[in-house]
C-alpha cells in the first residue's frame, strides 16, 4: 500500500509502510530485545484460530433453553454463570445475557471500536469490525438485519446494545420450534455465532 509519509509526528510512520513488512519489522525488533517470544505469539494465534470460538456461547444458549434454573441464574449474573462453565478472561470480564422474545430482538455492536465477548464467541468476524456495521447498526438495524437475511415482524421491537464499556453482551436467541426433546448438544448445533450477536436467528432443526 502506498504511504505518503505525511504524518511524521506518529512514530508508526517510521516503520515500513507495507503491512506485512511493518508487522515483521516490529516483531523482529521486539524479539531481538527479548520483549516478545515468538512461541507465545504462535500460542495466542492457535488459541483464537482453533480453540476459542462460538461453540462456547452456543453451550450457554443451549443450556439456557434446557434448564430454567440455569436460565434464571444467567439473567441474574451471567459473568459468574458462564465462568462456572469455564468461559472467562480477556474481553469477557463482565458478561450480560440479553434474551430475545417475540416482542423484542436484541442486537450488539461497538460503534467506537470492536468490543466483543471473546471467551464466548472468539474473535469478531470481519463484518462486526467494519465501518458499515459500526455506523449503521444503531441507526438502521432492520436494514442491516435484512442484509443478513433476517426480517422481523412488526410486533417485534429492536434493542441495539452499543458496547461502550467493558460489559460484553451475549444475545440468547429464541429457541426454534420443533426442538422439544432435543438434548443440549443437539440444541447447541442450532446456535450460530450471528444469532448470539443478534444479526441472525437460531437455525431450525434440519435447516
Amino acid at each position: 500500500m502506498p504511504h505518503d509519509h505525511h504524518d511524521h509526528d506518529h512514530p508508526h510512520a517510521l516503520l515500513p509502510p507495507e503491512p506485512a513488512l511493518r508487522v515483521r519489522a516490529l516483531e523482529t525488533l521486539l524479539s531481538r530485545k527479548g520483549l516478545v517470544d515468538p512461541a507465545a505469539l504462535d500460542e495466542i494465534i492457535d488459541t483464537y484460530q482453533n480453540r476459542i470460538g462460538p461453540k462456547n456461547g452456543a453451550r450457554v444458549v443451549a443450556r439456557a433453553w434446557s434448564d430454567p434454573v440455569f436460565r434464571k441464574a444467567l439473567q441474574d449474573d451471567a459473568t459468574a454463570v458462564v465462568a462456572d462453565l469455564g468461559f472467562f478472561g480477556r474481553q469477557g470480564e463482565h458478561i450480560v445475557a440479553v434474551e430475545n422474545t417475540p416482542t423484542r430482538h436484541n442486537m450488539v455492536v461497538c460503534t467506537l471500536c470492536s468490543c466483543y465477548p471473546w471467551p464466548l464467541l472468539g474473535i469478531p468476524p470481519g463484518w462486526y469490525k467494519s465501518d458499515a456495521y459500526r455506523s449503521r447498526a444503531v441507526r438502521e438495524p432492520r436494514k442491516v438485519l435484512a442484509e443478513f437475511g433476517v426480517s422481523l415482524p412488526a410486533e417485534t421491537s429492536v434493542r441495539v446494545w452499543d458496547s461502550t464499556a467493558e460489559v460484553r453482551y451475549l444475545v440468547i436467541p429464541m429457541r426454534p420450534d420443533g426442538t422439544e426433546g432435543m438434548d443440549e448438544d443437539a440444541l447447541a448445533d442450532l446456535v450460530t455465532r450471528d444469532s448470539m450477536i443478534g444479526t441472525g436467528l437460531a437455525r431450525e432443526p434440519g435447516q
Binding site: H6, H10, P11, H12, L14, L15, P19, A20, R22, R24, A25, L26, L29, K33, G34, L35, V36, D37, A40, L41, D42, E43, I44, I45, Q49, N50, I52, G53, P54, F88, G89, R90, E93, H94, V109, T111, L112, C113, I123, P125, G126, W127, K129, D131, A132, S135, R136, V138, R139, P141, R142, F148, S157, V158, R159, D162, T164, A165, E166, T192
Partner: protein, 225 residues
C-alpha cells in the same frame, strides 16, 4: 484527537457483508501476528486497555480511514511503545541497539499465554462513589460528547448520543473511567449504567417507533433529566 472512530449513525458506508459462521479466520499471516503482538506486548504491563484504544483513535484521521483493521492495531501499538518509552524512535527506524531490554524479564512465555488470557483485566472496582441514579430514572447525556477531562481526549460517549434523553436500565457497578485511565490520570472509578434511548430521540428518521439503543455510560456522563 479527531472523532473519526466515532462513526455510529454515519451515512454512506454501504452494505454489511456477512461471513460464514464459526471461528473467523484472520487470513494473512501478518494479521495473525498483529493480533498476537498486541496481546503479547500488553502483557508487559506498560499500558492499559483504555490507552490502547486511545492510541488507535489517535491515529491521523486519514490513516484511521484508510488503514485496515489490523493496520490500525499495529500502528497504534508502535505509537504506544514509543509513547511509553518501551521503544525509541531510533528503534523503529532500525537504528536502535539489540541489547536485552530492561523489561525482558516480563516477556510473555508460551506457557503463560492461557493464564494471562484467562485472567483478563476486570474493570469493576468495588467501592468508589455511590450510584446517584436508579433504574427507570430519566437522565440526559452531556453535550457536546467530547471529553471534559482532557481536551480532545478519549471518552466513550458516542457523538450520536450526546445531549440525549434516556432512561437508566440497570447499574453495572463501579467501573474504571476510560476518560481518565486512557491518559494515565488514574482509574477514577464511577458507577456505570446501561441507559436506554428511544431511537426517535437519537435519529431524525427511524425504522420502527418501538426501537431502542442501549449504551453503557459512566455517572459523570449523565445528569438528571
Amino acid at each position: 484527537m479527531s472523532r473519526v472512530h466515532d462513526m455510529g449513525g454515519r451515512f454512506g458506508d454501504g452494505p454489511v457483508s456477512p461471513d460464514p459462521q464459526g471461528i473467523p479466520q484472520l487470513g494473512e499471516n501478518w494479521q495473525q501476528r498483529a493480533l498476537a503482538l498486541t496481546l503479547a506486548t500488553g502483557a508487559l504491563g506498560q499500558w492499559n486497555i483504555d490507552m490502547s484504544r486511545r492510541a488507535r483513535e489517535g491515529l491521523a484521521p486519514a490513516d484511521y480511514a484508510r488503514f485496515t483493521y489490523f493496520e490500525k492495531w499495529i500502528a497504534g501499538l508502535a505509537d504506544l511503545l514509543v509513547e511509553t518509552g518501551v521503544l525509541s524512535r531510533d528503534d523503529l527506524r532500525g537504528d536502535g541497539g539489540d541489547s536485552p531490554h530492561a523489561l525482558a524479564d516480563r516477556v510473555l512465555k508460551a506457557a503463560d499465554v492461557a493464564g494471562v488470557l484467562a485472567r483478563g483485566g476486570p474493570a469493576d472496582r468495588p467501592g468508589g462513589p455511590v450510584p446517584v441514579f436508579v433504574p427507570g430514572q430519566a437522565v440526559r447525556t452531556r453535550h457536546p460528547a467530547d471529553s471534559r477531562l482532557v481536551e480532545g481526549g478519549h471518552t466513550r460517549l458516542p457523538g450520536y448520543a450526546a445531549g440525549a434523553l434516556g432512561y437508566v436500565l440497570r447499574c453495572h457497578g463501579t467501573h474504571v473511567l476510560p476518560d481518565s485511565n486512557a491518559h494515565g490520570l488514574g482509574e477514577a472509578p464511577e458507577p456505570l449504567y446501561a441507559v436506554r434511548f428511544k431511537a426517535t430521540e437519537l435519529w431524525a428518521q427511524t425504522e420502527h417507533p418501538g426501537d431502542e439503543v442501549i449504551l453503557d455510560l459512566w455517572q459523570s456522563y449523565l445528569e438528571p433529566a
